[in-house]
Amino acid sequence: MPLAAVAWRSTEGGADGFWRAISSPAAVSSLKLTFVCSLIVVAINAVTGTLIAWVLVRDSFRGKAIVNSLIDLPFALPTIVAGLTLLALYGPKGPIGINVAYTRAAIVLALLFVTLPFVVRSVQPVLLELDRDMEEAAASLGAGGLSIFRRIVLPNLMPAILSGVALAFARSIGEFGSVILISGNIPFQTEVASVHIFSQIESDDVTGAAAVSVLLLVISFVSLLAIDTFRRWGSKHEK
C-alpha cells in the first residue's frame, strides 16, 4: 500500500507534472550520475567479485576463513558507518594523502564498498560445485590457463555473475546512507538520485520526490526480474 501511494502521488500534477519533475535539470543530472556510477561499479564488481570468489574457492592460504567471513561485513555494517569509515581514510584528513571526498570517485568508492558481497556470494557456490573434470580435460588437450578460464569456467559462471551484478546494480541505484557523507551532495555534481529525493522531501516538494521515486521503483523491479531470469538460466545450466 505505501508503494501504491507513491505511484498515486506522483501523478498528482498530471502526466505533465510528472514529466516536469523527472526532467528537471537537477533530477536528470542526479539520475544520470546514479546510472553511470552504478554501471562503473557493477563492471568493477563483476571482475573483482569473480576474482575474489575464485581465490576463496580454489586457493588456500592461512586466514582464508577470516577473509571469507569479512566479505559479509559490508552487508552487516550500517551504511552510514561505511560512509564515515571511507571518509576517514580517503577524505580530507586521511593519513595517506588521497582525498576523494566530494567527488564522483567517492560515490564509486562508497558503492563498491556496499556492493562487495553480492557477486562474490553469488559466484562462490557455483564455483564450489563446478566439476574440475572439464578443466582437466582441457588442460590435457593443451589449453593454457587463460583459455581454460575464458572458454570453460567463465561460461559456467556467467548466470551467477550476472545475477550478482543485477543485485549490486539494484543496490547501487538506491544507495543512500554510505554516499551521503562522502559525496558532499553538491547538486549537478555529486548528488545521486536518492539524495535528490531526500532533499526534495526536505523542501516539501513531495510530488517531485514521488515522481523520481517511481522511476527508481521501476528500475528496482526490472533488476529483480533480471535476477530471477538469470537464476532460472543458471539452474537450467546445471541440469
Binding site: I80, L89, I197
Partner: protein, 274 residues
C-alpha cells in the same frame, strides 16, 4: 603457481584497500585521544538514548518479521493461490528498493496529508516523526530476509513428515510446532540474524521518517550523521564503533549459523544463496 599468488595478492589487496584499512582506521581514530573522550561520548545521555531506541526498534521489528516471514514462507511454498507469484516478487522489493523511497512511501500514507494521516491525527496518533513510523520503516526494509532463508528449507524438506504426523492424529498446530518448526529452525535463525543486522543499521528510511530529534527520535545510525554534521568527530566515531562492533558480532553469528544450515540442507543452500 606464480599466477595463483598474483591472483591472491590482487584479491587480498583489493579487500584491504576497500574494507580492512578503512574499518581499522576508524577504530584507531576513535581511541586516538585515549579513552576519556570516548567514554564521555558514550555516556552522553543522547547517545545512550539513541542506543536504547535502536535496540527497542530492533526488538519490535525482528519478532514481527520473523512471524510474518515464517507465515509468508509457508504460504509461498505450500499453498497455491491467485497472486502467489506477485507476492513472491513483492517480498523481494524492499531488498532492491532505495530506503529513501521507502521513507517517502510511509510519509505519503501515514504523514499529515497522507491517506491515513488525517484519521490518525484526529485520533491523536502520530506515526511520522515518531516511534511508530521508525518501526514501520525498519520492518519494511528488513522484510525479505526470514522469508528468503526459510523458503528453500521448506522446499527441501517437502511435506512427507508433516503428512505422517497428520495421519498419526496430530493437530495442525502440533504438526507445525513439533515437526515443521524444528526442521526449519536454522533457516529461521539465519534469517533472524540477517534481519537484526539490517534493523540495527537502517539509516535511509528511518532518516526520512524520524525528524532526527536528539534524545527523542534519534537512532544510533542517525546519531553518527548528526554528530558528524556538528563536527563532533569523536561522537560520530564512537557511535560508529559501537555499530561496527555489533556488525562484527552479526558476521560472527552468520558464520556459525551458515555452517549449521549447510549441515542441515547441503546442496539446497547452494542454489538458494544470493
Amino acid at each position: 603457481m606464480r599466477s595463483r599468488l598474483a591472483l591472491r595478492a590482487v584479491a587480498l589487496g583489493y579487500l584491504a584497500v576497500l574494507l580492512i584499512l578503512p574499518i581499522g582506521l576508524i577504530f584507531f581514530r576513535t581511541f586516538e585521544d585515549g579513552l576519556g573522550p570516548v567514554w564521555d561520548a558514550l555516556t552522553n545521555p543522547d547517545t545512550i538514548h539513541a542506543l536504547w531506541l535502536t535496540i527497542l526498534i530492533t526488538l519490535i521489528a525482528v519478532p514481527a518479521n520473523t512471524v510474518f516471514g515464517i507465515a509468508a514462507a509457508l504460504m509461498l511454498v505450500r499453498q497455491r493461490f491467485p497472486g502467489r507469484s506477485v507476492l513472491n516478487a513483492v517480498i523481494d522489493l524492499p531488498f532492491a528498493l532505495s530506503p529513501v523511497v521507502v521513507g517517502l512511501a510511509l510519509i505519503l500514507v501515514y504523514g499529515r496529508t497522507g491517506w491515513l494521516g488525517g484519521w490518525l491525527n484526529a485520533n491523536g496518533i502520530q506515526v511520522i516523526f515518531a516511534l511508530p513510523g521508525m518501526v514501520l520503516a525498519t520492518i519494511f526494509v528488513s522484510l525479505p530476509f526470514v522469508v528468503r532463508e526459510v523458503v528453500p528449507v521448506l522446499r527441501e524438506i517437502g511435506t512427507e513428515q508433516d503428512e505422517a504426523a497428520w495421519t498419526l492424529g496430530a493437530s495442525p498446530f502440533a504438526t507445525f510446532w513439533r515437526v515443521t518448526l524444528p526442521a526449519i529452525r536454522w533457516g529461521i535463525t539465519y534469517g533472524v540474524v540477517l534481519t537484526t543486522a539490517r534493523a540495527l543499521g537502517e539509516f535511509g528510511a528511518v532518516s526520512v521518517v524520524s525528524g532526527k530529534l536528539a534524545g527523542r527520535t534519534e537512532t544510533l545510525t542517525l546519531r553518527v550523521e548528526n554528530e558528524f554534521q556538528r563536527f563532533d568527530l569523536v561522537g560520530a566515531y564512537t557511535a560508529s564503533v559501537v555499530l561496527a562492533v555489533l556488525a562484527l558480532l552479526v558476521v560472527l553469528a552468520m558464520n556459525v549459523f551458515r555452517k549449521e544450515t549447510d549441515g542441515d540442507r547441503g546442496a539446497a543452500r547452494q542454489q538458494a544463496v544470493r
